[in-house]
Symmetry: D2
């Protein structure tokens, strides 16, 4: 059994890790820390875990994390970069669900996260944890930066395109809609039910942290600069991301075949038959990305629809997928959850 | 007092007409018909109207409609075109909230509505009821085709652009999200709470009926062909449309000023200050369209956000606005509702 | 025009007062204060009010409140009791939407609100603002304590019973469900969309602040002690209270007639015909309470269903109703809003 | 592997059976029938099952059901009673998720389901499938009538009480709230998002089908007549039942201990510590019932809160629990799903 540590398990990515790991056949949850909740039993905080998780939160500074095989950081940005070296030195491997290891360009990182990075050398050694792109590098990685939720949905939707030279990659558009849990487990006014329910709005049109991450990763694939207009929206639902992607076609291509071929071997990417519209609930609570490809009226604008559960394929599930790869397990181990519908 | 008739008042546009007209200072609801519900008291069907509407639904064929000054058709497509002439001959004017008088191009109409049009001459004489474009023509019109809800949100968001020659109007993109009431008061599986709640999906990516209407109207303004990719989505909310519009900038322009100038005199279009993101609830239950204009990173893609309440500015409210214009009333009469928040 | 002041207008009862007063024919909003938001334009904070409210929040200490005819306190508990005397001395009348003037029993008040009352003499002179019980006293009152939202729904549902001697008033049960806005405009974790949506739970089963208020008011009507078990629940909706009330029948009575007679002259209480089930949306955004009376299987348990909009008849609407009574206006002035459906 | 047949798998209990059985370690889905959808691939109808269920719906009359070890009926009421004998004769055992085998009193059954029962002898031989009451009988049963969702939540909440003689069982009250999926996968107007969202109402106060079932089962336990007032409500959520139960205390008892003792050995009933309020999401998508016991103010009214997921412990999960018992498997096999939160 792989010994698991979780740092900061009181947010939604943390509780989702617990939900998934509680049933993982090869993982054993050894320690979970929380600065604020040390001493609280996990199942007292999250009654949904009663009978499934029999641990209490422990202090963040304790030594027990160092005895873990892998430590997940389900913390705010800027935590993992400070703790990583100590844990690595103790022999643990690290999967950061925050942004500390998502960007190689540290100037860009500083601009978006307003911090000097504490471990630039670890960034260079880290691997961006999108298995559909970096599977081999993840296998060997000591530190994995788990992608952002929007970043996952958008990249999986655009990957076949940017590798294809069939569209204008200088003017991609991603119109993305996220459920409220994407903002985290936070007491913020705009996230309250009274504000967010029966309502719909865009936000951060001027710029969003996931854009540099998407661009850096896609440019590595494309081998050329990517232009991306990204508009996120807050949708009145708990989970789910729906990315509607637009690209100008520059060369006649069988796009359906392009996608089917690209993802034929991927266990967690499902390309729908032509004409379908994936809905977010078709992946609810599961580690799946579903994609549909449309070319309205046979015109020169391609429309790609990509959906994930932001907490699973967009966070905790993908982190476990990365863990499975890192430790040589079946990549799908513990990730066979059937989406919950309705 | 203007004597009002409503044909088919059992759908959402019908009950919304009733809600608004019940408080209109210059209108008197004289008759409301329903094939299925003849004899039922309106307030028995819609308890929200108890104490406000003291009428019963009457047979559709009755003569009383002919004694009305104006008849609203809140019916499915294909009804108004058959009844219109009789009512016009009797002296009534007509506002059709369905699609019978939205398109001048009858071949296009037939393609989307699968019917031969029953009154082509009336179509030619009718006016497309978007006051922000056709105010003068509406004033004199005997028959007004009230715009579709998506069509209203998208057109108000694009009008200043297509008139400006500052963007590539051959490749406009409208990513639109609608609340479920936009689909009407219908017992359909995909509209049930269990299916539509906590869920998000696109639909009709291959083509939507509102596209020809948007294109025909915008082309009249632009004086040249418009290319539009339109992707509608079903959002888990009751009311509201949020259109996110994308255009490639071709000429340096102060877009904020362009919009503010264009709509300075419009009572129901509110251009927000720079940097804002309108939310649909800010227009909930009111006849307002709010618009924000963004140019992310100063790049060459313009992003316009446009929100309306699909049942008010997208249907019943706009119909009353048209009525006010047709009868020489203050255009805002009976339409002063403050949006309901939260 | 009556000059209106609002203290603390940044919560939901405050913005709802603004929504309703903006269209009141005899009221003029003169000043609105906020400690935190002084200087902010009201319509910048609440875009729904753009075009309707052209004021900025002012400092709380300013003199302008004293020039008002009536001051509404839309503040947390414990504010009005400190400011009231100064305003009364200046000639203003006061309507407190918080709890400072709801209870005559100050020991009970202290127990629930954890404060020593700052103005016991004003409490004695104040009137509990439930017009259906205290209309005459309200007319003459200088200080009105506006009832709580649960308290309004439960009392209107029980009033005819406790006056009737037809049920066991020692063992009444009120199972109440409230929309999330009832908790106020607060950044609290349990009120977030991710926590409150697609979820249902009771809370405060051990005791709730509205119970002493309900009991004190009903006992005044009944002339004898009332026993009430009250269980509030948080329902995943924005607005609305649904109280399901249970009483053991002790004397054969025509309960339908009892209710219809009791409320025959009340403009804002609507007793539905037998067999109906009022839904909360039938009063959404309106100052109405709808009630239905059931006696399942002709047994000895009576079931009364009572619904209100917690922000209107449960707060701001009732406050304006009280104002109308206090100032000799038509009691329904400015309160003719038709419920918003769907 | 147990060979499973499902009749009528296109409703929510059907798709939930599929979700759970797809991961069951000892079950193999052999055949699923649907009159309307014969030939359709299951995963085409429910994209959430893509990659998990590789069957098509087959004709209802086919012989393949007869080769199953157990057949689940996820059909409307009145189907299983006609097909049962043929399948029993072929050696299959039967679990009916509809109501055909829930009531021994066939006069009562006819009254509520408006049908003459087609198999009275099978009713007499059948077992009511509430494992917490009938575990031993279920083990030996050939036909199990799976309880209704409300019936499960209410009975598990009341069982310790009716066995205790500590409360007045002649005047029990169950105020129950259900998510919309409890009404099934049906295109009905009142179930649409536009009607059911942001709304709350009681229904069927005059009488509900689950009452005779609850009463018959509880009376068997209590050995005396039960009086129950049951008021169901439709809550704007997809899944979940919250039953708030009221009983008049007649004898001093440690109710917390009573419940803890009663359910100490039950794998799927979780009695919360004193003072807690279970929320429906704490059992979302899992086969758990959580219960809390309150005695407000130490008075003589006991309040019990009981929550389940209507589609799992209230339907498909409980059916699989029954199957596990019938076939001598670990009762929890395939039912270890961790509730999905948020």
């Amino acid at each position: 059994m792989i010994r698991i540590g979780i740092v900061g398990g009181t947010g939604y990515t943390g509780v989702e890790l617990l939900r998934l790991l509680a049933r993982h056949p090869h993982a054993e949850l050894a320690v979970i820390t929380s600065r604020k909740e040390a001493g609280t039993r996990v199942a007292d905080m999250f009654p949904s875990l009663r009978g499934h998780v029999d641990l209490a939160f422990s202090e963040t500074g304790g030594a027990s994390l160092e005895r873990c095989d892998v430590v997940f950081f389900a913390t705010p940005h800027g935590v993992a970069m400070n703790d990583a070296r100590r844990l690595l030195d103790a022999g643990a491997r690290i999967i950061d669900l925050a942004a500390d290891f998502r960007l190689q360009d540290l100037a860009e990182w500083k601009k978006w996260y307003q911090l000097d990075h504490a471990a630039p050398d670890l960034v260079r050694a880290s691997v961006y944890g999108l298995p559909e792109v970096n599977r081999d590098a993840i296998r060997a990685a000591r530190v994995v930066g788990n992608p952002g939720c929007y970043a996952t949905a958008v990249q999986l939707g655009l990957l076949p395109l940017v590798a294809s030279e069939a569209v204008d990659v200088g003017h991609l558009i991603a119109d993305a809609k996220s459920g409220v849990s994407g903002a985290g487990r936070k007491a913020e006014l705009n996230l309250t039910f009274s504000e967010a329910s029966d309502n719909f709005a865009a936000y951060n049109v001027a710029g969003h942290r996931h854009v540099p991450e998407i661009r850096e990763s896609l440019e590595r694939v494309a081998g050329r600069p990517i232009g991306l207009t990204f508009v996120p929206h807050l949708a009145p639902m708990i989970r789910g991301i729906h990315a509607t992607l637009y690209a100008r076609i520059t060369r006649a291509t069988d796009f359906q075949a392009l996608y089917e071929t690209r993802y034929a071997a991927e266990p967690f990417v499902d390309v729908l038959p032509p004409g379908r519209h994936p809905d977010t609930r078709s992946v609810r609570a599961a580690n799946t990305c579903r994609i549909a490809v449309h070319r309205p009226h046979g015109g020169d604008t391609l429309v790609v629809l990509s959906v994930i559960d932001n907490l699973v394929k967009g966070a905790a599930g993908q982190a476990i997928q990365n863990m499975n790869i890192m430790f040589g397990l079946d990549e799908t181990a513990g990730l066979g959850q059937v989406p919950v519908l309705p």
